[in-house]
Amino acid sequence: MSDSHDNCPIDSAEVIRKYFLEHRAKIIDIAAFLDRVDRADGDGASDYRIQAMREAIRIAGDLQPERARRILELLSDPSVEPIEQAPMKGAMGAHDPESDEGG
C-alpha cells in the first residue's frame, strides 16, 4: 500500500503555483455561464440545476473539508428505493426535487 494516504507530497504554496491559473479560468467560466442564463429569455434562475449550482458554489466557498464529496452528495438523488421504470437512459447532473420518481 502507498504511504501517500491523506498526503499531498507538495506544500500548499506549490499546489497554488501549479493549479491557480487553471482554476481561475474555471471559476470565471462558471460566473459567465450564470450571467448567460440570466441574459437569456426565460426563468433560468428557478431551474433546479441552477439552484443546485448556487448551493454547490456556497459549499465550495466554505471552510469545511471534503467539499467535492459534499457537492456530489448535494447533486445526488437522496431516495433509496428502486424506481418503477427508467424514464430515459441519460442523467441530468442534479437531482430534481420535484421529480415524482424515487422513494
Partner: protein, 273 residues
C-alpha cells in the same frame, strides 16, 4: 512505463488509438460489454458483439503488443426489457469458455429501476453459478450514489460472490469510501466532463490510499480519452508521488485483481503487425 487500462471500449476506438496507447506504454486492456449508443434490435446483435469481443478485437490489439481481455453481459441501459435481457444472458455461457473472457461485466444499474435490478440479480446469479469475477458499472451523475448502494446491497444479499472478486467502477469522492469499506475493489474512471479528472483521481489517491483502487479511461464513443491513464500517471508525477505509487495504481493493482483469473496476462507480447 508499462500500464494497464482495465476498462476501455476499443470497439468504439480506432486502430490509431491502439498504436498511441502502445507507444504510451499500454501492455494490456480489459474491455467490458456495454451499450453501443443504440439499442440492439435482437439478441442476435449481442451474439455478433460477443464474437467481436472474443475473436476479432484480441487480434487487433495484438498487432501493437497489447493483450486484450473482455467481460460479457447486457448493459443496464438495455435492461429495461427483462424478457429481451434474459434472452441475451442465455447467450453468455458459451462465450465464457473463450480464452480472453475474465468474467461478467459491466453489469449494474443505470436509472436504478426495478427491471434493471432484476437483470443485475440475474447476472450476479450467472457469475455465482459459473465462478466468474464481476465488473460493475455504477450509474451516472445524480443516480450514482443511490445506485452504488443498491448494487452493493444486491451483491451482498446474494452472498455467493466474494467482494474481493468484484470491482465497482466509476467511483467518485462520494462513493469511493463506502465501496472500499464494504470490501470491494474500486475503479476511478478518468473522463473530461463526467466522473473523475486525472487531478481528482490523484486527490482521491491522496485521501484514500491505493489499496484495492485502480484507474481507467473507459474510452468509448463519447467524450473520453484513451490516453487518460498515462495522463493520470503524469499528474501523480507532477505532484511528486513516488514511482511505486504510480506503478501500484496503474499496473500492480489491476494485475492483482485481474490475476484472480488465470486467463489474465500483462506479460510482454511481441506485436503481430
Amino acid at each position: 512505463m508499462a500500464y494497464i487500462d482495465p476498462h476501455i471500449h476499443m470497439v468504439s476506438r480506432t486502430t490509431d488509438d491502439y498504436r498511441r496507447m502502445a507507444l504510451a506504454g499500454c501492455v494490456a486492456i480489459t474491455e467490458p460489454a456495454f451499450w453501443a449508443g443504440y439499442d440492439r434490435s435482437s439478441p442476435q446483435g449481442f451474439f455478433d458483439y460477443f464474437r467481436l469481443l472474443t475473436e476479432y478485437e484480441p487480434q487487433r490489439a495484438a498487432q501493437f503488443g497489447i493483450r486484450h481481455h473482455t467481460w460479457l453481459c447486457i448493459n443496464p441501459k438495455e435492461a429495461e426489457d427483462p424478457v429481451f435481457a434474459r434472452e441475451v444472458i442465455e447467450l453468455i455461457p458459451e462465450f465464457l469458455e473463450k480464452p480472453n473472457v475474465l468474467g461478467i461485466g459491466e453489469i449494474g444499474l443505470n436509472k436504478n429501476s426495478r427491471n434493471e435490478l432484476e437483470i443485475l440479480e440475474a447476472h450476479i446469479d450467472l457469475a455465482a453459478k459459473s465462478g466468474q469475477m464481476i465488473l460493475v458499472h455504477t450509474p451516472h451523475l445524480e443516480d450514482k450514489l443511490k445506485g452504488t448502494k443498491l448494487i452493493m446491497d444486491a451483491i451482498e444479499s446474494d452472498g455467493r460472490v466474494d467482494p474481493g472478486r468484484v470491482l465497482i467502477d466509476h467511483v467518485e469522492e462520494h462513493t469511493v469510501r463506502p465501496v472500499l469499506d464494504r470490501g470491494f475493489w474500486a475503479g476511478m474512471t478518468l473522463y473530461p466532463d463526467t466522473k473523475c479528472t486525472p487531478q481528482r483521481a490523484a486527490d482521491i489517491i491522496e485521501m484514500h490510499g491505493t489499496e484495492r483502487l485502480w484507474i481507467n479511461s473507459a474510452g468509448d464513443w463519447g467524450p473520453s480519452d484513451p490516453l487518460a491513464v498515462p495522463k493520470c500517471q503524469q499528474e501523480l508525477r507532477r505532484r511528486g508521488h513516488s514511482q511505486e505509487t504510480i506503478d501500484t495504481i496503474s499496473f500492480n493493482n489491476p494485475s492483482r485483481f485481474l490475476g484472480q483469473s488465470d486467463r489474465f496476462s500483462a506479460e510482454p507480447l511481441v506485436p503481430t503487425a
